[in-house]
Symmetry: C2
Subunit: 401 residues, 2 copies
């Protein structure tokens, strides 16, 4: 066993994660509970939407041709023939020189091809003065303009957004096919760890990572299952890992992944399964382990919370996306101006926590053990492996978190 | 009653929302369930963090002065005096010319003031060759460098992020004081509405807004309570509104807010409570109502889903933030280059749905009734009331949603 970790690039770590075969079982949930879940199948429109040509305004259904040249000074004068009731098929057509009152969402009557907003008209006895010329189709939504029957309205793999729930409702998807939330086991290792309810003595720290990892996992559509603090004892660790791997769809181990020979996670994973990668060219987060145990993916994370968080964002996220069947695009990045120089070591990806405001990204330098800079940051600057850093004032891409 | 809505600027609508007095009750939740909730009190550090000066690396604890001028060719040669065990106070000091092996997180021994990474050393019998000069404090986190005992680590009003759960764990906040999730009643009004499980006939549409509003409300830390479809019948509507106002902390009404005289929401709210605003200079979303009924805030939203969504983002969000006690900063905006001209009417705020990718914002023009552009968009461009629009190629601010 060599003394140092032989690190691989982040891209290789991510590719390895994607090669860990995972099953993506499915289930059906009521639409009211679907937001945030991942679609397990394409969703098609069951009907044409809208199913009829309708008004998007309160106003008057007219023939656009009747309003040519109309204005404040020379309004078009149309005979008001009646009112269209909401949800009812108009019983009168609109003939040349006529109009019908129509509410927002009302069915466009035969003959009419545009709606003039009430605000652009003036009643004048039985007539309506129209003070604005209208284009054909103005303020009208055409039959199946929104979605055509049979069309895929949302694709498999899409994480259902707030807006998407509206699309699902419109196409009658009351029971939504989604992927099952995978169970992710979380083991906190280390003799120095104490539960959050205890006062740490000298040399001890509270088990912070359990909460950070669980919250991240839940935020990415999975169910965290925590296995508490596992002491640095090989038999205890082996038993905890075996139990978690048996009960969960993947296991995340916090701590125990350094090359220090006290750390035994890699050795146990290698013995009970396989270690695919131990050491990633990422800072912070180098001692990351990627492997498999009992048929499920196992990732060993650094013990320091801020390093853990970078590995969650840069690597574990890909595993969780695969396990939830999520075909998400890359996280949205924003461009900002760097407030100071960010030096970096060539050959490793550096993840620098930043606080972005008003287009200015201020790096929050801090040792990888610090939580305060992590909590103050709202994004991270990735310095690619081939770069020696960025100069103050340069435009950089920030991944928001 | 005048024929048209007299609109107010969005800023006035938002200010009115903020003046609706709301109570913000509190409760305590276990830390594992706190992510996403809003802190009801400042959280203080109960101990110094870290409680001891410690290593952030696996390596050797040294005196930085011993490594001055060290390099690959001329390493510093230090006598290895032993190993520090994780979580235990070192029983040996580091004297001049000496070092101790230390794991990540280990307690810095007396005399030592820096850690050299194992990778920058080479063992040589009982000695360690150090091939890099170290600065005082390098790879060390000092006693209480992260948080000082008594310090406010997270402020009241903060929405607890994934990272924040780590801060709370570190300071021993096992039971987290959070604001109680307000209950938001949702009424869908309109004779044209049918449940999502039905096939709409001509003139009918499915009740889309119920799901969009409920998902938005939940996404903003509230509990949606849906009251189903309320037909356009004054007695039925009055009863439903009274029931929702009695059971919930606020009520959102979808539809029934236009000036069309069939719409009775404003009249009923005025009779049973008060209408503060009816009509906002926002597009889409003009017929918005802001009022109060039975002592709770009531907001009337447009019936069209895409218009509803804009009003949720621009106005309702402020109500929900107040009700959850959230002192959130403005939503993060990104700067992007506009792919085409966006004309607008001076005097109203226009909200144009956009799709942003690679720094280019493409407007998704579409009538306010369309869902497909809403679901395809990942942000919105606000065109201020004083502007006539933006030209293609200009840099604009996009609110991500």
């Amino acid at each position: 066993m060599s003394l140092f970790l032989s690190v691989v690039p982040v891209s290789e770590a991510v590719a390895t994660v994607h090669r860990l075969t995972v099953q993506v079982p499915q289930e059906t949930v009521p639409l009211a509970e679907a937001c945030g879940r991942v679609l397990a199948a394409d969703v098609h429109a069951d009907v044409d939407i809208p199913g009829f040509t309708r008004s998007v305004m309160d106003g008057y259904a007219v023939r656009a041709g009747d309003t040519t040249g109309a204005g404040d000074a020379v309004p078009a004068i149309l005979t008001l023939r009646g009112r269209i009731q909401m949800g009812q098929t108009p019983d009168l057509p609109v003939k040349m020189g006529e109009c019908l009152y129509i509410p927002t969402g009302g069915i466009l009557p035969e003959g009419a091809d545009a709606i003039v907003m009430a605000e652009n008209t003036e009643p004048f006895g039985d007539e309506i003065l129209v003070k604005k010329p209208l284009a054909y189709g103005e303020n009208v939504v055409q039959y199946n303009e929104d979605f055509k029957r049979g069309e895929v309205v949302l694709p498999r793999g899409r994480r259902i957004s707030v807006q998407d729930t509206g699309v699902l409702a419109a196409v009658g998807c009351a029971d939504v096919p989604v992927t099952t939330r995978p169970k992710i086991g979380i083991l906190s290792t280390g003799n120095e760890l104490v539960p959050v309810t205890e006062i740490p003595r000298i040399g001890q720290v509270r088990d912070v990572n359990r909460y950070v990892i669980a919250a991240f996992v839940r935020d990415h559509g999975c169910v965290p299952v925590t296995y508490g603090i596992v002491k640095d004892d090989r038999a205890i660790f082996e038993a905890a890992l075996a139990r978690a791997a048996g009960e969960c769809d993947a296991v995340l181990i916090s701590g125990g992944s350094s090359k220090d020979d006290r750390d035994m996670a890699a050795a146990v994973i290698a013995e009970k399964g396989e270690v695919l990668i131990h050491g990633v060219a990422i800072a912070p987060g180098k001692p990351t382990i990627i492997g498999r145990c009992g048929g499920v993916p196992v990732i060993g994370l650094p013990g320091h919370p801020a390093a853990t968080f970078v590995v969650l964002v840069a690597i574990v996220r890909h595993l969780l996306d695969d396990m939830t069947g999520s075909a998400v695009p890359e996280p949205v990045t924003i461009t900002a101006k760097l407030a100071m120089n960010v030096p970096s070591t060539k050959g490793r990806e550096d993840y620098i926590r930043v606080f972005v405001k008003d287009g200015i990204a201020t790096p929050l330098f801090g040792k990888s053990g610090l939580l305060n800079t992590l909590a103050k940051s709202n994004g991270v600057l990735r310095v690619p492996a081939g770069s020696e850093g960025f100069e103050s004032g340069s435009q950089v891409e920030i991944i928001l978190w």
